[in-house]
């Protein structure tokens, strides 16, 4: 018992006796050393044979003692690793801060290619340059759509406004078109703002982009002014035009007319159409350039006298061009006429656009009484019937082909060949011109084409036609061999015919020999006669 007591004395355990039955103090102390002293005490007290041995007590104590040592060593190791973890966390915090700062500087969509942990020097790395170029190229592509609408202002319907969004890479803001009446209106205004310019420069400076590309990512003041003018014009035309418009629908962003209109505005101001400008509203835009001077004002001749400029500007060509620049079909007309040529755009034989002016006037709302008055004074031009000739819309051939057809009638093979590039003629053009029978092939092809068209040609092939053939037993050219054959054939036919031709063959006797003998001369004459035939 004495060693057990010593053991218990050394171990600083608090002995608790939960339930008496009374146990010897030594056993009580031993139970206290266990993990569950109360249960141990209870168990030992319940045991009838209460004879604790040294082994029982040492076993009860040894397990916790060993576990204490291992647990203590584990606790020490955990403490040591925790200290290391704290140390690493301290070191990792700096890159994390860097990352957070860099990511804060970039929008969400661009963070991935430009994330780095290399510090400020990273912007000189090729990988960073590539990533930056890719990001800028992507944004530039999105801006190209905006630039299209910048050049061609168009109205924006509310249902489409919701769909139009653009994330500005430099300002890290979302540009939406809610409430805007023109396509990319908010975007254009943002790109033209000074704040965007400042952010753009800062971005390029920070990430190593070249500052010479600044203009490609913003809208200049001149472009903004131009766009605003276009929007204003669009507003005015939209308010004045009626539902039924001539040509394409009003407000189409893809009409070239607006581009021409905006460019020709200066020309319009320079033109001497003062009277019209004073009377007309902005809703009606006449031609900026003089039209065909053959203006047939059959309704009111005084109009031309009183308002010559109006007559000029509205003159439309009697054959059908209508000078209304707010109708988008005629932009090309104005463009052509802006060169100063008074001639009509329409060809001599055909009209380009055959809508009568009266329809155009009827369609225009009277937003301004003055303009309507001027229009009424200018008098609609009644188009002659020949203005409704066939044109490209009706499927008529273009005039240059008609000219070529005339040349065909004059049998000009070169023009015919150029004007009608049929598959066969196109094929011949590709073939070697030095091939055998090239000239014959071209000539024959032309003849076949003309026969197909139904034109009767003099029959060049008679029954006795033969191709040039290099015969076996003849020398010389093929033409000679053909002629020789034809002669032989003729001779054969004549010999067969009963025309006093003797088939008897006589030997040749020369003239000198013929002098001596009369009979021989007779024969010679006969032979000569045969040869001459």
């Amino acid at each position: 018992m004495e060693p057990v007591c010593r053991t218990f004395y050394l171990l600083p355990f608090y002995l608790i006796l939960a339930y008496p039955p009374p146990l010897p103090p030594e056993i009580a102390q031993a139970c206290g050393a266990t993990r569950f002293p109360s249960s141990c005490h209870f168990t030992l007290s319940q045991s009838p044979d209460l004879s604790p041995t040294v082994q029982l007590l040492s076993a009860a104590v040894a397990a916790p003692a060993d576990a204490l040592h291992s647990s203590r060593s584990q606790a020490e190791s955990i403490h040591a690793s925790a200290a290391a973890a704290r140390h690493w966390l301290k070191h990792l915090s700096f890159p994390a801060l860097c990352l957070s700062a860099a990511s804060a500087a970039l929008p969400a969509e661009c963070r991935r290619p430009l994330n780095h942990d290399q510090g400020r020097r990273h912007k000189y790395f090729p990988s960073h340059a590539r990533a930056l170029a890719a990001v800028l190229a992507r944004f530039h592509g999105k801006l190209s759509d905006v630039r299209f609408f910048l050049r061609n202002p168009s109205s924006l319907s509310p249902e489409h406004a919701v769909l139009n969004r653009l994330w500005c890479l430099f300002c890290r803001c979302d540009l939406r078109e809610l409430g805007s009446s023109f396509a990319c209106s908010n975007t254009v205004k943002h790109l033209a703002s000074s704040e965007h310019l400042r952010n753009l420069k800062e971005f390029l400076r920070k990430h190593g982009g070249k500052l010479d590309r600044v203009d490609s990512f913003r809208v200049s003041e001149a472009e903004l002014l131009k766009w605003e003018k276009g929007c204003e014009t669009l507003n005015n035309s939209t308010s004045s035009s009626c539902e039924r418009s001539i040509g394409p629908s009003t407000g189409s962003s893809k009409d070239i007319q607006y581009a021409l209109t905006s460019s020709d505005m200066d020309n319009f101001e320079k033109n001497s159409i003062n009277s019209f400008v004073s009377n007309a509203s902005h809703s009606v835009m006449p031609l900026q350039c003089p039209t065909n001077e053959n203006y047939d004002n059959e309704h009111d001749p005084a109009v031309s006298a009183s308002n010559p400029h109006i007559a000029t500007s509205w003159s439309m060509d009697t054959r059908g061009n209508i000078g209304l620049t707010n109708t988008y079909v005629f932009g090309s007309v104005s463009r052509h006429l802006s060169d100063g040529e008074p001639s009509c755009l329409a060809s001599d034989a055909k009209s380009l656009i055959g809508w009568p002016l009266s329809n155009a006037i009827d369609q225009r709302t009277d937003s301004n009484g003055g303009s309507n008055e001027v229009l009424q004074n200018s008098m609609p031009i009644s188009l002659p019937s020949e203005a409704c000739q066939a044109n490209m819309h009706t499927g008529a051939p273009p005039p240059w082909l008609e000219i070529s057809e005339q040349n065909i009638a004059n049998k000009d093979p070169n023009v015919y060949r150029l004007a009608h590039p049929s598959s066969s003629s196109g094929k011949s053009r590709k073939l070697n011109p030095k091939r055998v029978g090239a000239a014959w092939a071209e000539k024959r092809r032309t003849e076949l084409e003309m026969e197909k068209r139904g034109k009767t040609l003099p029959k060049s092939c008679d029954a006795n036609w033969l191709p040039n053939f290099g015969r076996v037993w003849q020398a010389g050219t093929r033409k000679e061999s053909r002629k020789e054959f034809q002669m032989e054939k003729r001779k054969l036919l004549e010999n067969e015919s009963p025309s006093g031709f003797s088939s008897k063959i006589h030997p040749y006797i020369s003239k000198r020999m013929c002098v001596g003998s009369d009979e021989d001369c007779v024969h010679n004459g006969h032979v000569k006669e045969n040869r001459n035939t």
Partner: protein, 152 residues
């Protein structure tokens, strides 16, 4: 069956038309008889090869028994059948095959590939402006014959 797909010409006007109207293609005129076995064999080979050469050649059969064709028989000096005459854009094409007669091909071909090779050689030469071409076939593929001058 041999001449089923190939046109058979028995009139001079037909021959004239086909010579004049075949443009930028080799015209192969086979002069022979439909009943002749060698001609039948040759016609079968020609009919097989006609599809392959259809893009650059036209093949036609001419019946030497016809009265109207006799002028061509005499003009082309056709004495042995089958004989094949080549034209390109109404120009007669000669071929040097090592025989005495360069103006035509006398006899049949061994296979349709020989036909194709010969027609191709003629076409290539014609496109280069040559009126006489060399035969691409080996000597063993070229039929041999003797050419007599007026039965002499």
């Amino acid at each position: 069956m041999s001449g089923f797909l190939l046109p058979t010409l028995s009139r001079k006007s037909d021959v004239d038309c086909i010579i004049r109207d075949t443009l930028d293609k080799v015209l192969l005129l086979r002069f022979g008889r439909a009943a002749d076995p060698l001609c039948l064999h040759f016609d079968e080979i020609l009919s097989k090869a006609s599809h392959e050469v259809s893009k650059f050649a036209t093949i036609a059969l001419v019946d030497v028994e016809s009265e109207e064709i006799q002028v061509y028989v005499k003009y082309f000096d056709i004495t042995l059948i089958p004989s094949t005459v080549f034209f390109f854009n109404a120009h007669h094409m000669k071929m040097d095959s090592g025989t005495a007669d360069h103006t035509k091909w006398v006899g049949s071909f061994h296979s349709k590939q020989d036909v194709i090779d010969v027609v191709e050689a003629i076409f290539r030469g014609a496109m280069k402006g040559k009126l006489i071409v060399s035969c691409p076939l080996p000597p063993e593929s070229i039929p041999r014959f003797q050419l007599l001058y007026k039965d002499v």
